[in-house]
């Protein structure tokens, strides 16, 4: 029936069909046969997510293994952007709205706009999970996990964050942790990457945490965990299908401090109470603002820090989820006393009379004073020789006549004129003694430069010299009045005034060195680094850790002091507390320690402000007994050292001296704490920066 014309037409259809099939097969071969690898990589980025797991940081423990800085798990609701990107805009908005409503309904107030903003935040890499709600309760995690279908691209993560069982205790000291910034990241790149004990690199990724101060910064390399990595397979909705590969993170090493938590808590509490009681009162030279204050307690025979209190403080827990600009400004506001500062080593103050032992040694070494040649009649004022005018007369505090004083008594009753005379003689005979006899002794004791403590941010303080002044003037003649050094400069330097500045830590070190008879140790806070064996058990429990590194006391100098000198200085510094007219004798009788203490009060004048109150000393002082504590107390704009700083020092050390130190209170146990004052103090400290998490 078919005509030949139909056959031709049918053939045409056939040829078309053959061509079409050929086209399909050629294209198929092009996709599958030529280079299938290029597609494999593409499908892997589709379905595989590599999750970098930082692992828990090491903990920070006190000398007895009590945990000061711990970890806890925080549940975070985050977005997996990849599957969300695939949704239509309306669908995505619907998911976000549903998520925000659901979270809000479950007690985690969340705004749709916040979720959208985070999703669009370009700082997060496409593969990275973007957190939208932190600190969500466990039932939210369950709720979302059971409804994964309804929330494509929503993941619930568990993150390890810092927790602070003792609240603000030792806050500036331990520092805090925050997201690593670019500078920090660069500092740990390549060869600088910290290594675990077995040599495994502890690599960083953007978004990781990094120690931002104190121990967290100083021991970043130990505390950081060896990161792990999880490769998971997800489907198009971002739901977990399975785990492809896993390298577990290894927790960081624990850092033990020399700190005695009980003493620390006690010192912080009393310091805070003292400062609060001072504020607003009128002192001789103006209002007592007491904007800040610090207490440092060292172990003289090792240089270990037993306590280091800085006021005001803050609770580092408020920084766990990042920090807002507001909060940051609040924590750094001078009007708040800069709670983030550790004033014990970042503050530098005129030491006043606490500096006198330094001048005494310089005078003794020069031979200006010595056995049988040490008495001087203190008339209350001192006039420089060859000098006319008001600026030539220097006086004791309150122009007080002290009568005949020897070296010991010059310390006990704090005669200024005794040192003015020494200073003048040292300066006018500078051809013989050099320009800097006092400064050289101060430098020997470690002043004018960082002590080398294993904490960051330490300031040098300042020991002024004629040379320094000349150089400063020459380099910047507009700013400085003169490049010349006068007799009067040495005179005021001799009593720790003028340009002299020391940190409370340097001051404590000075008295620790006096306590040991001249052996100077580098102050240190880290006693050892350990690797936990069972993370679930208390890290300080015996047998539950391996020691990675032990820090031994480090002697950094010996100060030559002959016995004649040393005995006189001891007598003088003991006289400060024990003599009837010693500058700290009244406060001593009010709250003495169980053993005898030596020390020196200081009342430093600061132009335009109330005096700084200082005390530095040590105890016990007794023949054949090792000194256990060297202490410095410094509170600026606070009044007399003998009235403010010395009694605080005694009250801090009193319970340590008789073994009645109250146990430091964790926040959780605050209600049951013996000392009700403790929790009150903690609470008020937490008020600083109460802006809430950022």
């Amino acid at each position: 029936m078919n005509t030949s014309s139909t056959q031709v037409r049918l053939s045409a259809i056939g040829i078309v069909a053959v061509c079409l099939f050929a086209a399909l097969l050629v294209r198929l071969w092009f996709l599958q046969g030529v280079d299938p690898q290029r597609f494999e990589a593409a499908t892997e980025s589709n379905r595989l997510r590599v999750i970098h797991e930082e692992g828990p940081r090491g903990r920070i423990l006190d000398r007895d293994g009590r945990v000061i800085v711990d970890n806890r798990t925080m549940i975070v609701v985050a977005l997996d952007k990849e599957p969300l990107r695939r949704l239509e805009d309306e669908e995505r908005t619907a998911v976000f709205t549903d998520l925000a409503d659901t979270l809000t309904g479950l007690g985690v107030p969340t705004k749709v706009s916040t979720v959208e903003r985070r999703y669009e935040d370009v700082r997060y890499a496409p593969q990275e999970y973007v957190p939208v709600a932190e600190e969500v309760p466990e039932d939210v995690e369950l709720y979302l996990a059971e409804r994964a279908e309804r929330f494509p691209g929503v993941v619930v993560e568990r993150r390890t964050v810092r927790s602070y069982p003792y609240g603000s205790l030792a806050a500036q000291f331990v520092g805090y942790v925050g997201e690593v910034n670019e500078t920090e990241l660069a500092s740990v790149e390549g060869a600088a990457v910290p290594l675990a004990a077995d040599g495994t690199p502890k690599e960083y990724q953007p978004g990781d945490s990094f120690g931002k101060g104190g121990i967290e910064f100083a021991e970043e390399a130990s505390l950081r965990a060896v990161p792990g990595r999880r490769t998971i397979e997800v489907n198009a909705r971002g739901e977990l299908l399975g785990e492809v590969d896993r390298v577990d993170a290894r927790p960081g090493d624990d850092v033990w401090l020399s700190l005695d938590l009980d003493l620390q808590a006690h010192a912080e509490r009393l310091l805070a109470a003292k400062i609060r009681s001072l504020r607003g009162r009128e002192g001789g030279e103006g209002t007592l603002n007491a904007p800040q204050g610090s207490v440092v307690i060292l172990e003289p025979g090792t240089g270990q820090v037993l306590a280091m209190a800085s006021y005001p403080s803050y609770n580092p827990a408020i920084l766990v989820n990042g920090i807002s600009t507001d909060l940051w400004e609040q924590l750094n506001d001078p009007n708040n006393g800069r709670p983030l500062y550790n004033w014990a080593l970042q503050g530098a103050y005129a030491p006043g009379s606490t500096f006198k032992p330094v001048t005494a040694l310089a005078g003794w070494r020069a031979g200006i004073i010595g056995p049988g040649n040490e008495e001087y009649d203190d008339a209350g004022t001192y006039r420089l020789g060859n000098c006319e005018g008001a600026g030539c007369t220097f006086q004791n505090a309150g122009r007080k006549r002290l009568g005949t004083v020897d070296l010991a008594r010059s310390l006990a009753v704090s005669s200024d004129t005794y040192y003015y005379r020494l200073a003048e003689l040292l300066w006018i005979n500078r051809l013989q003694f050099g320009d800097n006899p006092i400064q050289d002794v101060a430098t020997e004791f470690g002043m004018g430069r960082p002590t080398g403590i294993d904490l960051p941010g330490e300031t040098s303080g300042r020991i002024p010299t004629p040379e320094q002044r000349r150089e400063a003037f020459e380099s910047n003649p507009e700013v400085f009045m003169t490049g010349e050094w006068f007799t009067g400069d040495t005179v005021i330097t001799s009593i720790g005034q003028g340009d002299v500045l020391v940190t409370p830590l340097q001051l404590a070190e000075l008295y620790a060195t006096i306590a040991t008879g001249g052996v100077r140790y580098r102050p240190q806070v880290i006693s050892k680094v350990t690797r936990p064996i069972d993370q679930a058990e208390p890290p300080g429990a015996a047998g539950n850790y391996e020691v990675v590194r032990t820090v031994t006391p480090e002697e950094v100098g010996r100060i030559e002091m002959d016995d004649d000198f040393y005995l006189r200085v001891l007598a003088g510094l003991i006289g400060v507390t024990q003599d009837e007219d010693g500058t700290a004798s009244r406060s001593w009788s009010a709250s003495p320690t169980a053993w005898t203490m030596g020390g020196k009060t200081g009342t430093a004048q600061v132009a335009g402000k109330a005096d700084s109150a200082l005390f530095a000393g040590w105890g016990p002082v007794a023949a054949g007994v090792d000194p256990e504590y060297a202490i410095s107390v410094v509170i600026p704009e606070a009044g007399f050292g003998g009235d403010v700083a010395a009694p605080l020092a005694f009250r801090i050390l009193a319970p340590a001296s008789d073994g009645t130190l109250p146990t430091a209170c964790t926040i959780a146990a605050a209600g049951q704490c013996r000392d009700a004052d403790a929790s009150a103090a903690q609470a008020s400290l937490r008020d600083v920066g109460s802006g809430g998490p950022g």
Partner: protein
Amino acid sequence: MSTDRVVAPSGFRSRNLGDPRRHVDVVLAAAVGAVLVLGLLLVYSATRRFEQGTGYVVRQLLFAVVGIAAATGVALVDYRRVADWWQALYAVGIVMLVGVLTPLGTVVNGTSGWYRFGPIALQPAEFAKLATILAIAAYLGSVDQVDLRRLAGALGLLGVPVVLTLLQPDLGSALVFIVLGMGMLVVAGVQMRHLGVLVSLGIVAILVILNSGALDDYQTERLTSFVSPDGQSYNVDQAQKAIGSGGLTGFGFTNGPQTRGGFVPEQQTDFIFTVAGEEFGFVGSSLLVALLAVVIWRCWRAAQLAADQTGTLLCIGVTCMFLFHIFENIGMTLGIMPVTGIPLPFVSYGGSSLLASFVAVGLVQSVHMHRFS
């Protein structure tokens, strides 16, 4: 006992040379069967991650059984008897296409192309295609020469379903009508100059449609994304990743990561070929293409062998319909054709398509079987 009166024991095969049951195209049946089995495997793999899991493949199997029964029934009836009823059948097809545009129809993905009866959804366009093929075959098969009047009549028969499917809007099905209609017109003997004018008009019409805004944005986008591959849609991108990563031998049955993860949308229906590509690789997917080629070849061969012009046109209509379905469907997953939602015959999940495809094969078998009667 007379040797030429022996009755075969089965009773099925007759000694009568004219008996249609002796002329079943076994190759066509076998090829369709093989494609069907492969298709069931692919549907299983693509849907096992869903909650209803095996429900899809079970339903597909049910439709296949119904389809095979229908095909057998259609094959046994002489296609000429069926062609006698072309006006009625065509009318039913058109009524169904009109009805689906009314509230009786259900809108899926923006297209009003479905009747929903509880769990079963019917796509009238699939059946209208068969009715149209039958109508044009009967209408043009009765004459030796297609003059202008006949051409206009055939174009009318073709134009109504094209317009109706465009109204749904279902661009894919409309294209199927146009392609199978053109194929049939070519074979029916339309004069070349008429054909030339027709093609020119078609091209003008396409340009007008594209620029008039009559198409929904998504349809224009699909078509233009094909023209400018930079804007390739997510679907096509994922489809090519799936196929490409399959390589030579594939990841193995149910092991394709793209399939398991559900990264290719509409994978059990329009993008079913990606499962073959990913899990069976070039070896498996080219085998599927080859089997489909066999189906096309046998349908085309039936057209060639047909006893009359109606039979030829009927078979060539089915051939063109399948050919376009196959080329367009696989071509879009391979990125050489624009994305339109038309199924891969015997493979894509979907009852209407499967049933209609079987009936179409039944018609071809009928032409093949009744070529001596």
